[in-house]
Amino acid sequence: MNQWGIIWAARESFFNGLLATLELFIIAAVVGLAIGIFLCYVMEYQQRLVDRMIIGFVSLMRAVPFLILAYLLYYGLPEVGISMEAWTAGLLALIIYHGAYFFEILRSQRRLFSAGYIEAAVSQGFSRYKIFKRIVLPNIFSSALPLLGNQLIICLKDTAFLCIITVQEITAAANGVQSTYFIPFNAFIVAIALYWGISILLELMIKRLSHYGAKRGMTHA
C-alpha cells in the first residue's frame, strides 16, 4: 500500500507527459518568438493597412482565452473541412496565441526605444534590415526580457489546457495515473512539482540572459 511506490512504477507515463509538455512548449516558444519578431520587423515599414491588421489580430488574441482558440482549431475547424490531430491543433493554437503576445511585448518596448539610435544609424547608411537586426532587436529584446520571461511561463502553463482537447501532456498523464490507481493526491503533486521545476529553470535562464545583456551594455535602452 505504498502510494509513492505506485507513482514510481508509473514513472514512464509521467516521463512521456513531461517530454510532450516540453516539446510543445519549446516549439511554441521558439516559433512564437520568431513570429513576434517578424511582425515587429513588418511594423518597421509603417504600412498603415498592414499595421492595422496586425494590431487588430493581436488585440483579438489578447481578448480571448487560450482554450477558446484551441477549441476553435480542434472542434470548430473540422466543420469547414480542416481536420487536425489534437497535437497539431494544440501546438498551432499555442504558436498563434503566444506569437501575438510576444509581438505585443516587443512592440511595447519598441515604442519606448529612443529614436536617436535609429537616426544615428540612418545617417551612417544602415539599411532598414540592418538597423532592425543590429540595433533595434538586440536592444528591445534585452529590455523586454523580464516580460518575455513571464510570458514564457504563461505559455508553459497554457500547455496544460491542451489536456482538455486530449493531448497527452503532464496534466493528462497525472489524470490518467490517478484514475487508474485512485491516488489523485500524489499524482497531481508530481505534476505540480514538474511544472514548478520547469518554471524555476526558466527563471534562471532569463536571469542568465539579462546578465549577458547587461554585459553587452544593453540595460539603458
Partner: protein, 213 residues
Amino acid sequence: MDAMAWQLLIEGAWTTLWISGVAIAFGVVIGLVIAFIRMMKIPVVDQILVVYISLARATPLVTLVLFLFLSLPTLGINMDKTLAAIVALTLNTSAFNAEIWRNAFRNFPREQREAAESVGMRRWTYFRCIMLPQMWIESLPALVNEMSFLIKGSPAIAVIGVVDLTRVTNRISSDTYEPLSPILAAGLLYVVIIGLLLKLQSMAERKAKRLAR
C-alpha cells in the same frame, strides 16, 4: 444557432462571470493580507508565503483545479465542483495580487509616514486613511490586468464539469453537430467581457497617472 443556444451561452457567460467575480473579490483582499504579512518579515511565515507564491504562479490552473477537486476528498474534505473552482481560482489569483500589492507597499514614499507620525497619527489610521487609498489607485491598473488574466484562465474550471462559457459550446454542439458557430459566439462574448476590463484598465491607468507624488 437558435435562441436556445444563445440562452445557454449567456448562462455560461454568467457562470464564468460570477465564479471569476467571487475569486477576484477574495483574491484582491487575500493578496493584500499576504503582502501585509510579508512586509512584517516574520521568519518562517515569510518563507512559507514565498514558496506559496512561487508555486501558485508556476501551477497551471487546469492542474490546480483537478488537484483540488480530486484529491481533497481523499483527505476527507468534500467540495462540490463550483466551490473547488472558486478555491482554485482564488488560490491562483491571490498569489499574483500579493506581488502587485507588495510592489505598491515597497514603492510607497517614506515621507508621508514621517508626516503622519509627526502629527501623532496611529499606525492603523495612517494605513487606512493615507496608505491604502493611494496604494489602491496605484495598483488598480495591475489588478485589473490580473483580473483579465483570471478570466482568460477561467475555462480551466470546465475540466471538472463546471459549465462555463467555454464548456457550454460542447453542450450546444452535441445537440446541433455544428461546433463552429457556438465557439465563435463564445469567443465574441469573451471579447466583450475582457474588452470591458481592458477599457477599465486604461481608465485606471489614466487615474493613476494623475496621482501626483
